[in-house]
């Protein structure tokens, strides 16, 4: 049984500097009800192909 009570008082922000907002991301100045965020990410060393010039079937490892 979770009971959440939120009180929003003053919100005054000076300057915001952001390098990047990317890949289904969100930067919001304002209120929102609900955010559901999912991310699948796969990168080496878990994912690489060795040796073959053909993308499929020739690699000695293919994750």
């Amino acid at each position: 049984m979770m009971n959440l009570e939120v009180h929003n008082w003053d919100l005054q922000v000076g300057d915001i500097q952001i390098t990047g907002v990317s890949s289904s991301s969100l930067f919001l100045v304002g209120d929102m009800e609900e955010a559901k965020l999912t991310s699948y990410y796969d990168t080496p060393p878990d994912s690489y192909i060795v040796g073959s010039l053909v993308p499929l079937g020739g690699g000695s490892r293919h994750a």
Binding site: M1, M2, N3, L4, E5, V6, H7, N8, W9, D10, L11, Q12, V13, G14, D15, I16, Q17, I18, T19, G20, V21, S22, S23, S24, S25, L26, F27, L28, V29, G30, D31, M32, E33, E34, A35, K36, L37, T38, S39, Y40, Y41, D42, T43, P44, S47, Y48, I49, V50, G51, S52, L53, V54, P55, L56, S60
Partner: protein, 129 residues
């Protein structure tokens, strides 16, 4: 829930690309999906650089059941004591790949991204590892 007004004095966005949105105002839903395969390969461009397809990789097929992961509070009460939010300046270099920058009210967001990086190594490179 009462929603506040957003005040932004100055905004500077250098670049918006690949189905991204910059919105001033309110909106109801934001439900983007990003699917990306990034292949890095040594040497010159070659015919084998093509042929990478989303359906070849399980990352783009598998579905994880998120319904059990969502835990909402059984009682949520939000009290807005001030009618507005103030931000003086916003400076963003890049907004990319189905992303959103918004000043205003958003009801809900359901965002998904699937990104796969692949390195194609030559046999010599794999020996060095």
């Amino acid at each position: 829930m009462h929603k506040r007004t957003a005040h932004v004095n100055q905004a500077e966005l250098n670049s918006i690309s690949y189905s991204s949105i910059f919105e001033v105002g309110d909106s109801y839903a934001f439900e983007p999906k990003t699917y990306a395969i990034a292949v890095q390969k040594s040497g010159r461009p070659h015919q084998s650089d093509e042929g990478f397809d989303f359906h070849q990789f399980s990352l783009f097929q598998k579905e994880i059941d998120t319904s059990k992961m969502v835990s909402e509070p059984s009682r949520l009460s939000v009290y807005q004591h001030r009618p507005s939010i103030h931000v003086n300046r916003v400076n963003i270099i890049g907004v990319s790949s189905s992303s959103l920058v918004q000043f205003g009210v958003l009801h809900h967001a359901d965002c998904a991204s699937r990104i796969k990086h692949i390195r194609v190594l030559s046999p010599q490179q794999s020996v060095m590892d």
